[in-house]
Symmetry: C2
């Protein structure tokens, strides 16, 4: 079996045997945004040819199933569990392989009637539940567009997206904060100050100006302002999610928030969650997506 | 007298007689960011030479007094009224003119200990108070970095900045929202929906993803998403300012919020303030800055 996580900015493939053991894996920076909508089959043949030939099933999750990907797969509505997603796997017709399956993303209509969407994270969530043997949980998947998801009876019942990763990148690359925020170093006290200030009732739009004001008045150095901004943005996300999703007593040491993602990002979120006294358990995003792909393809 | 408002991205000059009547005015796009820190005197001589020769005083407000401007003028701490600002006018030594005065910006340390700053808006505020003959007011100055200021006994006692204008520009130019938000048209219902949604307890970081989710799921067209995003950002600003600054009964038809700015921007904010049932009175930003410069230079 060939399991693939093909996102906007990265490509990851695992060649698995029938028991799910990893025989080989490949990771590149060729996310779907680098393809301009074509050349997916050629890329797969060139880099995964032998594995394709040896695999009865190829399963792919992530933005590869979006409008700008290989083939658009409609979003599946919530609530949706592993069985629902498996039933909605979509065959991709290609001469490359007789059994190419795309995992659908999910959509969720909140009480405000507006849709939220995910593509790829549903597979990580299914995998995280599998790895932890849980069927009730609150999960946080930090990233470009962080996702917070609620799982009940093994189904994803609701989720909310936060713009955190993209907002931080935008501000530190293209805004008037770029010149006052140095993001090469991590300054712990400044990060913690950002987490503390994130509770300001004036909200994030006010807070985003504060690194600039602090630097021009000499209150902060640029090396501090970058970490402070990171604390503001991660803090605004966690506090927003907490207000909406975390009733008192929902999380405990026995029933922690599941934090799923890369090592660097989950370390920062762990620190922030500890600051707000929210218990969490960290799960590798790579292990989660792999477990999810295997579960969705095999039912195991 | 020559009165000048020299900001980041624009230059405005008025030649006034002793009574404050406008003899001539000039407006260009040569904000201080286009100068790379030099050439200010040459520009003024080339474009305002005859007025310089006829004026006993030249007064300049705005980013021209910042680190990246002609000469840095320290921020004056709040509370500060017209007399305090006049007393802190800083002479700029130049062969161009014997009496060149720079208006200082203001800084304000909130209860959280972090500084906020303004440069140029203090002059508009002083002018707005002059034009309305008020010495107690709450003011909103929408813009790249919107300012909300409290005035008591004629002094600016506190203010808060919001990143609204820059955030909207960043998101619609450089982010993943650029492709899904058309900002060429104004869609009124979508703008109002944004104002309504701005109250979501998950906060702005969550809301910023919603235009994208609404467009990819077909709930909204890009022509709606741009106005919806504008409503979200302006709404988040007004609600944040309201939570912090507007106690029930503070504003009334007799004592409205003073809204100071350009026609296009104040129209949008007027609509938003009406949506939230906050009474306001609009004052032209150009008239306000001119009245402020005259007041600060002459004491009248």
């Amino acid at each position: 079996m060939l399991a693939i996580d093909w996102g906007s900015s990265s490509f990851r493939a695992w060649h698995l045997n029938a028991a799910g053991d990893i025989l080989a894996k490949l990771s590149t920076q060729r996310g779907i945004l680098s393809f301009q909508g074509q050349g997916f089959a050629d890329y797969l043949q060139a880099h995964c040819g032998p594995w394709l030939a040896q695999s009865a099933t190829v399963i792919m999750a992530g933005m590869v199933g979006s409008r700008n990907g290989w083939q658009e797969v409609p979003y599946l509505p919530c609530p949706a569990g592993a069985e629902d997603i498996t039933a909605a796997l979509t065959s991709l017709h290609s001469e490359l392989h007789p059994n190419l399956q795309l995992v659908p993303g999910l959509q969720y209509a909140g009480h405000n009637g507006l849709m939220d969407v995910m593509r790829g994270e549903e597979t990580q969530i299914i995998g995280a539940l599998q790895l932890t043997e849980m069927n009730e949980a609150l999960l946080c998947l930090p990233g470009t567009h962080s996702k917070w998801a609620q799982v009940e009876y093994g189904s994803i019942t609701a989720f909310s997206t936060f713009f955190s990763g993209e907002l931080f990148a935008l501000l530190t690359k293209h805004s008037s904060l770029a010149g006052v925020c140095d993001i090469q170093v991590h300054d712990e006290p400044a990060f913690l100050l950002g987490l503390e200030q994130a509770a300001d009732i004036r909200g994030l739009s006010h807070l985003l100006f504060s690194p600039r004001a602090a630097v021009v008045t000499g209150q902060m150095r640029p090396q501090q302002a970058g970490s402070y901004l990171s604390g503001l943005i991660i803090g605004a996300e966690i506090q927003g999610a907490r207000r909406a999703l975390i009733e008192p007593g929902l999380l405990s040491a026995d029933k922690p928030l599941l934090l799923v993602g890369s090592e660097v990002l989950t370390q920062r979120y762990q620190q922030a969650l500890a600051f707000y006294q929210l218990p969490c358990r960290t799960i590798s995003g790579e292990q989660a997506v792999l477990a999810g792909l295997y579960r969705l393809a095999t039912g195991q």
